[in-house]
Symmetry: C2
Subunit: 231 residues, 2 copies
DNA sequence: GGCAATCAAATTTTCGAAAATATATTCCCA
DNA sequence: TGGGAATATATTTTCGAAAATTTGATTGCC
């Protein structure tokens, strides 16, 4: 792993969790100090992040964190639904025992960490990072048997972009599901997938994302208050 | 426009038209000489191209042109159909007069250049470049009113990747229309789109890409020299 | 006072050398 | 002769300085 890879992961994380605010200019000197490396790996990382819609670049004027807005959020969500429902269909059709095992396993790991997080009174940064990671792995496991590098890559890029909105809504209050049990949605989704019920699985996935979108929209419309968060 | 942008476009072009062969290692010194610039803009370009599946990077071992294979080609084509039929549906639904005008206009420009190219006995490099450009613009115009940056960006990335196979088949012989009239397919596609016949337009688009795939597969099956065999 | 033009400071972009890492070759010894 | 450390070479990766460009401030002019 090179320094560029580190820079890529670190900057992306800081953009996703809002440490680097939307539209904030990214000055090379500041980045150099913050991440403790030279120009080259930083610029290489920013060039990759540009292709992933995490930053924008204006020639001779440097980079800035990509903006966020309800319209942009819905575009991400709709596109994600279009990509992932397709990938899920194929996965359900083609997935073997290993795929099923990975779905069950990643679901279990995520639920364990979700419970741990809920019981903990003062979770550490690492606890959240672990939860985030297992959540990502679960959604990836569902579609992992689709056999298309392109669909998987697009899904990954959309995932990180949509996470920006979850984290934005998280600012202030930590946990909480309003009117719905997100982990239960995950469980039912995994059940439908392993039961090879394509129609139900894609419907649950679509509903899962749309509900999250509606919720985030409502939370982001009234910022800075005591908010609760779902996914 | 920065040197990095130039490098990005130049290297991509050389990969698409096969000047840089699939899986060929990209040594920094050679690139420096070939493109007449320093390490920085070259590496920045390569990092972007990596995110676009045009090159692959192995840490500490540099970059190489991304491989090609029938399996990879079909993945690109299937994904492209999935993305573009969706974008086309929305475009047809939402496109205004300007969209229709752009479709008609870009079709016309492409047909003009296609005829010019067919009549010319010894077309220049620029003639081909112009044709390639107008072809790309036509396909972009069709979906341009979909209103989704993500769909348009994915379509663009898939376009350049699929062009690699067209150029590979083109190596040696110039004109690649056997048993079908490609420009007529384009015309009928534009007609269906501007007539707002969604079902027919998406059907024609799908057929257009599948036929191209079948044709390329047959041509690439018996090439002159060594074949890259991967998954 | 308004408005260019000019200069100074800040910032991005690019370069070539240096450091780190991989690959090839040589040499030694059983 | 063959295996394997040791060395040499080739290549990637990273750094900090230099060049190019933008931004902000100041001055001079009408």
């Amino acid at each position: 792993m090179t320094l560029s890879d580190d820079a890529h992961d670190l900057i992306r994380r800081d953009i996703v969790n809002g440490t680097l605010a939307p539209e904030e200019p990214l000055r090379m000197d500041a980045l150099k100090t913050r991440y403790g490396m030279g120009f080259s790996p930083l610029r290489e990382a920013l060039n990759r992040l540009q292709a992933e819609h995490m930053v924008i670049a204006v020639p001779q004027r440097g980079f800035a964190v990509a903006p966020v807005s309800p319209a942009l959020m819905w575009d991400v969500i709709r596109t994600r639904i279009h990509i992932e429902t397709r990938a899920l269909e194929i996965s359900i059709m083609q997935g073997d025992d290993d795929w099923e095992a990975a779905v069950v396993s990643s679901l279990h790991g995520m639920l364990l960490q979700a419970r741990r997080l809920a019981e903990q009174e003062c979770p550490t940064e690492d606890d959240f990072r672990c939860m985030e990671d297992r959540h990502r792995r679960f959604h990836r496991a569902l579609i992992d048997a689709c056999g298309s590098n392109w669909l998987l890559d697009f899904a990954a890029k959309l995932y990180f972009n949509s996470e920006r909105y979850r984290f934005a809504a998280l600012a202030g209050s930590i946990r909480g599901t309003v009117g719905r049990n997100v982990q239960d949605e995950h469980r039912r989704l995994a059940d439908a997938a392993t039961a090879r019920d394509t129609a139900r699985a894609t419907e649950l996935l679509t509903h899962h994302y749309l509900e999250t979108g509606r919720y985030l929209e409502s939370v982001l419309a009234v910022p800075q208050s005591e908010n609760t968060v779902s996914d």
